[in-house]
């Protein structure tokens, strides 16, 4: 028989970006096998049954790959476990009777839409600024016509596993987006298809990152520690190196 857990929640409630938010206290009966988001589904059903407004939170695939879920759980983006998104976090990681505080991602660049849901379109605008490759359209070229060294392909793939959830910004004391931008720049500049535009790309993406109001990097490493995909800090040094060399060549 599955034992039920009593969880006390302190959830951030905020009507919209302009209103002042505050914590609301709730109690939920949860199963240890529930995911954190399923526990929130139970909470919302309770609230709806009692005629109260449910808590707004972002979610989509619930498989840890879409980058939609967020939530700062007890002060940590995506909760206490390493390399795990909120949707893949299970209630067995907590104890019966625990009080859990849940806040939204906090950064000027990520304004609160409602409750725990924040607007992460700043990331989309950084990608639009340069996070792509330009190719002529036409028939798809056979993938094996351009040979790529296995180590390079692996390194690019590692950077490409970034799901753009924004936990790095949320964890950083400066609300810096450099792990995200570093991952995108590294992924594209390592591969032959991305090389021709690598200098203009890094400058455009960094300019957009600064314009969105993200902070500078202090190299504390908090972003890597909280990243659900464990994107390494080396992508930030690659970003710095690419930016420096683009600037010194007059871009």
């Amino acid at each position: 028989m599955i034992k039920s857990m009593k969880i006390n929640l302190k959830v951030w409630r905020q009507r919209n970006a302009d209103s002042v938010g505050n914590f609301a206290d709730y109690t939920v009966e949860a199963s240890p096998d529930m995911s954190f988001l399923e526990m929130f589904d139970v909470l919302n059903e309770q609230l709806i049954e009692n005629g109260r407004e449910p808590v707004a939170f972002d979610h989509d695939c619930r498989e840890g790959i879409c980058g939609m879920c967020s939530m700062v759980i007890n002060g940590r983006p995506h909760g206490p476990k390493r390399g795990v998104t909120t949707c893949q976090l299970h209630m067995r990681s907590f104890n019966d009777g625990d009080t859990i505080s849940v806040e939204p991602w906090r950064a000027n660049a990520f304004p609160v839409v409602k409750d725990l849901s924040v607007n992460r379109s700043a990331f989309d605008r950084i990608i639009s600024a340069g996070g792509f490759i330009s190719t002529n359209t036409g028939n798809a070229v056979d993938a094996n016509t351009i040979l790529i060294q296995k180590e390079i392909a692996d390194e690019a793939f590692k950077a490409a596993t970034c799901i753009g959830c924004g936990a790095c910004v949320s964890a950083c004391k400066n609300a810096s987006a450099m792990l995200f931008v570093g991952a995108k720049v590294t992924q594209l500049s390592l591969l032959p298809q991305g090389k021709p535009e690598k200098e203009s790309r890094v400058v455009a993406m960094v300019n957009q990152m600064d314009a969105e109001g993200f902070g500078a990097c202090t190299n504390t490493g908090a972003c890597f520690a909280e990243c659900p995909k464990q994107i390494p800090l080396s992508v930030i040094s690659t970003l710095n190196r690419e930016y420096l060399s683009a600037k010194l060549s007059g871009k």
């Binding site: 940590r76 206490p80 806040e103 004391k173 500078a216 990097c217 202090t218 190299n219 710095n240 600037k247």
Partner: protein
Amino acid sequence: MKLFSFLFTSSIGRKILMSVTGLSLVAFLLVHCSINACIFFNDHGKTFNEAAAFMGNNWLIRSAEIGLFVGLLLHSFQGLYLWASNDQKRKQKYHTTAGNSNSKWYSRSMGILGSLLLLFLVLHLSHFWVVSRFTDELSETGSNTLFHKMSLIFQSPVIVIVYVIGCISLAYHLLHGFQSGFQSLGFNHPLLNPIIKNFGIVFSLLVPLIFASMPIVMYLGWIK
């Protein structure tokens, strides 16, 4: 000048300037520490005074001193700017924080540690640098040398404690700053990374330890 304007306008440019000036200051610390360690010859400061006189009279070193001060000012002002501006990037702060679970406290406290160091430097420069460069109080030989000035100043237990606190701030500032400087420059190499990390730790502990031992041994009268 346009080529280098990014050092003052972009977030990465600013970090690159912090790193270049910071690593230059690290190089200076090595020279400063080596010269001062001459007091440990325990020859009434003879070797130390000779080394100090060489540093004071060599035009190449005096020119580098100007570069050192420019670097120090750039590092300080840029650091204070970054500290203030980064702090503004999250106007609504978190109510629950768990900083120690994802980073070291000193890596998050570079602004505080740097400010302590700046305050310490004002005191330290007024004790020795201002006196030896701008007044006739000291001579290179005799009974009124820089070495004598050192032993005089380190008679006060309060000053010795302030110097030791300055050295502790320096050690923590370096523990993060040394390897962070290489990261900001985009330096990343599978073989050299562990060397930078380990050398950084040894440097960050050893240099401040040698510095801190100087006021202590002079106060205790072990070096005369």
